[in-house]
Symmetry: C2
Subunit: 343 residues, 2 copies
């Protein structure tokens, strides 16, 4: 088994820097786009066989060191009794529209081992078939709940911030519901065979440090603490500017995933060298072609400086127009860099 990713996440020495890409099992792969001609996104997500097959699809194109589960952050919504529709360019939408975030009463408690077994089964299939770690994931409470709001992303995030400010008790009920259920779901993924769980707080970067500290940090901390107690290796990914990074790190995670706006060395210092770091090439560098992408990847590796605990990734998900050949070239650059550093 290739355990480079897991060893790097534990900050053990590795022969070379492990590499995977957020959204590697998706729209940038021609074989995936073929699948989508026949099947809806949510149908693929809900079928363990399809989800496992698509999760492993990247291996037909490039040699990543971990497989990130083909799933969606919104998957737990249906388990909680909500109907979900995926809209192009918008993301998951709850139907009928959520009538104000106050109605947490619409959420039904659920056992992820029953209601989300299709996810766990996909993980089991992957572990039988591949000698690579599987990365499961859940949304952080803030980012997950933004998908309960209606409208364009910027508007959703403003509505959620307003709700957290105006109704701290109602937000506490909502966020606490998700902390417990997401922890349960994440632990179930780990027990099904996932090597690590990534917690996606993809939109945390819209928060000022004070609001993050008061209304988001407690819930992300509670989630990550439950996972730590269960022995689950975690990556805490957030969009964050430099001043927010220490707070994201404070919430927990064996590793912290950082976006591209803070240079990796500056980010690592901000989160602390006692943590692993994942990132952080700009996804736009992949769109800019092989030469620019490889140059950008080398800058990231230089900034990591060969220190144990770096997992190479982008600072956000792969853009759908990313060319698999450019991704391959970036992986080759990361692999070669590791060999030369070890020599």
């Amino acid at each position: 088994m290739n355990d480079l990713f897991l060893r790097a996440l534990a900050r053990q020495p590795v022969e070379r820097t492990p590499v995977w890409f957020m959204r590697q099992a998706g729209r940038c792969l021609p074989a995936y786009r073929e699948e989508r001609k026949e099947h809806g996104f949510l149908d693929l997500v809900r079928n363990p066989e399809s989800a496992a097959r698509i999760t492993a699809l990247p291996l037909e194109y490039f040699p990543v060191d971990a497989l990130v589960l083909f799933q969606d952050l919104s998957t737990p919504f249906e388990a909680a009794g909500l109907d979900v529709e995926l809209r192009p360019g918008v993301g998951p939408v709850v139907l009928p529209p959520w009538s104000g975030l106050e109605d947490a009463a619409r959420l039904e408690a659920f056992d992820p081992r029953q209601r989300l077994d299709f996810v766990l089964e996909a993980i089991r299939l992957l572990r039988q078939r591949h000698e690579l770690p599987v990365i499961g994931f859940v949304g952080a409470p803030f980012t997950l709940c933004s998908y309960l709001c209606d409208g364009p992303r910027e508007s959703r995030l403003a509505q959620l911030r307003a709700f957290m400010i105006r109704r701290p008790e109602a937000w506490d009920r909502l966020a606490s519901f998700w902390v417990d259920h997401l922890a349960d779901f994440a632990i179930a993924q780990y027990e099904a065979g996932a090597g690590a769980i990534q917690i996606f707080d993809s939109w945390s970067g819209v928060l000022d440090p004070e609001l993050y500290s008061e209304r988001v940090l407690p819930y992300s901390t509670a989630l990550l603490t439950q996972l730590a107690h269960a022995g689950v290796p975690t990556i805490h990914f957030g969009s964050a500017y430099q001043d927010l990074l220490p707070l994201i790190a404070k919430a927990g995670g064996d590793g912290v995933g950082v976006d591209w706006r803070t240079p990796l060395d500056v980010a690592w210092e901000a989160i602390g060298f006692d943590r692993a770091i994942q990132g952080n090439l700009d996804p736009a560098a992949i769109l800019a072609g092989e030469e620019a992408a490889v140059r950008g990847a080398r800058v990231v590796l230089d900034r990591a400086g060969g220190r144990p605990g770096h997992i190479f990734n982008l600072g956000h998900g792969l853009h759908p127009d990313s060319d698999p050949d450019v991704i391959s070239a970036v992986i080759a650059a990361v692999r070669n860099s590791g060999l030369s550093a070890a020599s």
Copy 2:
């Protein structure tokens, strides 16, 4: 004439902090929503009488210290020979779709005094009718050009970053075209009677400092320098985390508009106390109701500390669901705060 805004922008002492709101003349006003039942957005924008009337509409609800022109960043596209459609939740879209940013050849040189006279005429009407400064505006080259790309905002911005990295010469041609035409248009707005011009780099916050320095700073600097030479007072608004703020400030502007994520005192130190600052209440605070909004406004005023050169505003545009009564309460808080500081 109420010249508080202009004096604060020049960092002269003022009796109280001036206040206006980005998007104050728009969807949060019931009277505006009535107008929109009868007329399309672009029809209103293109008609000087309508644009002037809507620009002044906020005065029926709350006493702002400046009127920001009811217009759109994309207005100059049509003058350059492009067709534009406004899509809800997406923003302006160029039709037929821009076939790669390389085709700057599609842009026709234009004289804003002819092709955009409807904007200038709206400014002239406003100056005849109101004793308040009119704020004109243009997009910064980076933010404006993002609207030439297709797709959701995040995708547009990734495509534009990739283009800037991959094709620096083509980007130079495109950005230089806009620097010259935007400067010309902004100067024409000033000559028509605008008291100041705001340069909107609303999406600059997606750039890492290196890419901003190499591919964005030169063009924003060129634009702001042309305006400075023409004697036009300017506010340079960018979305920016703390590390990007000194670069935004370096590009120019008598004042720098900052978003809500960096506390105002920290932001002011980052841009330099020799510049005016505009901002920076989170627009979500307005959605959170009167008490939270007023509390947030007081925090911003405390951080400004009564130093000359602060213009109160939000850190981004007003959300469409903002309640005019809450906006009024915030304005009252800013006005009262100024009086108590002067006593």
